[in-house]
């Protein structure tokens, strides 16, 4: 395990792309990091490579070029159909050792957070987890990764100066999607896959799609979000009605998730989802940093809270000081009235 590497030999930005049954996953995270990877590659004046493992990937690989990759590295084999930590780590590490990328980005999804640390340990390099911002240092031409730290109470900027590839996982919902351009051309390179089913230590016995994830709060145009201040009495039921009136998805803070009123799939904030809807209505939410890191980029924020000094008002465009129990029914009535 020697740390000394000839850093100038490492070139290009790689992005790991997640697939399910040969197609891009429902989450747009992989495309978001592809878009971000393109920006970083342009800043460095280098190429962007998408890396995808799975089965029947021909079409998806071609699409990645239209989305901005110069090169797509494809490992296409039945044994790779379902994500498996070790098989994927083996193939990506092998390719990285041979081709020497300077940056490797992975989505901070469940899969990405399982895969990235294993790759980084084996390649003896640093991986900055859950980044919300990436940039290139103009002078040193190295990756500058920013992530929430200390439970989301502060932000930390982290470098990986002497090891390659510089790795980061990127939170969903924080990077812009790339544009599709039919005119783009690039190269699809097939990686040799020698692994066989019997080489895989871990067997997948069953795969089931989560029911709760039918709703994807990250794609919602409008979100009504509940804090503990909106959970007393029948207030939460009224909030659901408000969401229906607004054609919004309902989400909430971690404490609300802990009461069991919402599922983890719609928990917004540091330990949940990051959202940026057109309209974010925060009801009975005080606005801890753990929560606001997950919603601060929403287009229009409305806050309803009985404490006029609540932090959430610092993030709001419109504020109503009042008890959710009184304001929510009034708001429902007004919305109904405005429709007539």
């Amino acid at each position: 395990m020697t740390a000394i590497k000839d850093l100038s030999a490492y070139k290009g930005v790689w992005v790991f792309i997640e697939q399910f049954e040969g197609k891009l996953t429902n989450s747009t995270l992989s495309l978001e990091i592809l878009g971000e990877g393109r920006k970083l590659a342009d800043k460095l004046g280098t190429d962007l490579t998408a890396v995808i493992l799975g089965e029947n990937l021909e079409k998806t690989a071609g699409d990645l070029i239209k989305y901005g990759a110069n090169t797509v590295l494809v490992a296409d084999a039945p044994v790779l159909a379902n994500y498996r930590t070790e098989l994927y780590t083996d193939i990506i590490c092998q390719a990285a050792k041979e081709r020497k990328p300077e940056i490797l980005l992975v989505g901070a999804s469940a899969t990405g957070r399982d895969l990235a640390p294993r790759i980084s340990f084996r390649l003896h390099t640093g991986c900055t987890a859950d980044c919300t911002e990436l940039d290139i240092d103009d002078e040193k031409k190295i990756l500058v990764s920013t992530r929430p730290a200390f439970g989301g109470n502060v932000m930390a900027t982290i470098l990986c100066p002497d090891h390659r590839p510089q790795m980061s996982t990127v939170r969903p919902g924080v990077m812009m999607l790339p544009t599709w351009d039919e005119a783009r051309t690039g190269e699809v390179i097939k990686l040799e896959v020698t692994a066989k089913e019997e080489d895989a230590k871990v067997k997948i016995l069953e795969v089931k799609k989560h029911e709760a994830s039918a709703q994807n709060i990250q794609e919602a145009v409008r979100v009504v979000s509940a804090g503990l201040g909106a959970c007393t009495g029948n207030c939460f039921d009224q909030l659901k009605e408000l969401a229906k009136e607004l054609d919004a998805e309902i989400g909430g803070t971690r404490p609300v998730f802990e009461t069991g009123l919402i599922s983890h799939d719609v928990q917004i904030g540091q330990t949940g989802k990051t959202v940026r809807p057109e309209l974010y209505m925060a009801v009975g939410i005080s606005g801890t940093v753990q929560h606001t890191t997950g919603m601060a980029n929403s287009r229009t924020v409305v806050a309803i809270n009985k404490d006029p000094n609540a932090e959430i008002f610092k993030f709001a465009h419109y504020g109503i000081v009042g008890d959710a129990k009184a304001v929510v029914p009034a708001l429902i009535a007004q919305l109904k009235a405005s429709r007539n």
């Binding site: 930590t85 957070r113 340990f121 871990v202 540091q270 504020g319 009184a326």
Partner: protein
């Protein structure tokens, strides 16, 4: 069966306070066993009760981590190992995994390693998977249920919008989710007993390994700066009046900007 549980003592970051200038006050926070790691301890204790097991709990940190290890023993863990050395200081995920991995190699035979999915202060979720890679173990992450068979272990894995049942040979490393169980409260008799028990303390010289891989020196990542998240993004316009009046104003505003 021999089980190793890796735990971390963390400041309770849900108790964070700010001074009048908006700066984070880091001191005075209570130190606790990382919540996910308590799920890992509970998982080991459940197996101990079902099948019989010897549990060793391992943690790296300053000498005060002894408290966390004693608490784990009061919950029912049999042995405790404290990895403490000034040279371990400043370790990032890579160097932490290296140190824990080297120590685990020293501890000899084991069947399972449990850790929490992630720590509540750093939230990186990296050290568990990295130890698995270092020791060449199958990684069974995000466990919501664990079933031990003959030489194999099966988990229900919560992988984003999928739930999978996956199985691997032992020894293996399992990272534990909150949904896996409800950690028990330490038993009073064990609380008294745990203060009698010995905690094995290991420093850098005891775990071998290469000097340049420990602590800050062995950490590929470097912290450039820490800052408060951007606040006050918006200039709030308060809509005043009774609930009815303020709601009416809000609906008008939202219509004006085409938000509804």
């Amino acid at each position: 069966m021999k089980i190793i549980v890796c735990i971390k003592q963390v400041p309770d970051v849900t108790e964070v306070k700010w001074d009048e200038n908006g700066s984070l006050i880091r001191t005075g926070l209570p130190s606790i066993i990382n919540p996910n790691d308590k799920n890992a301890i509970e998982a080991a204790l459940t197996l101990k009760e079902e099948k019989g097991a010897e549990i060793t709990v391992v943690s790296m940190g300053p000498p005060q981590v002894e408290e966390a290890l004693r608490e784990a023993m009061a919950m029912g863990c049999d042995h405790a190992v404290l990895l403490t050395d000034r040279k371990f200081g400043g370790a990032d995920c890579w160097a932490t995994a290296y140190t824990l991995g080297m120590a685990i190699k020293k501890l000899g035979h084991f069947d399972l390693i449990f850790s929490g999915v992630e720590a509540m202060d750093g939230n990186t979720a990296q050290v568990g998977p990295e130890i698995a890679d270092f020791l060449g173990l199958p990684l069974l992450s995000y466990a919501e249920a664990i079933e031990v068979g003959e030489g194999t272990v099966k988990i229900h894995q919560k992988l984003g919008d999928l739930t999978r049942v996956i199985e691997g040979p032992m020894p293996a490393l399992i990272t534990c989710e909150k949904e896996l169980n409800v950690p028990r409260i330490p038993r009073m008799d064990l609380v008294f007993e745990c203060f009698e028990k010995e905690i094995k303390v290991l420093g850098m010289a005891d775990v071998d390994g290469e000097l340049e891989n420990f602590g800050l020196k062995g950490s590929p990542t470097r912290l450039r700066k820490v800052f408060s998240p951007k606040r006050a993004k918006a200039q709030v316009e308060f809509l005043e009046g009774t609930p009815k009046e303020s709601s009416q104003k809000l609906v008008e505003k939202l219509h004006e900007i085409n938000a509804i």
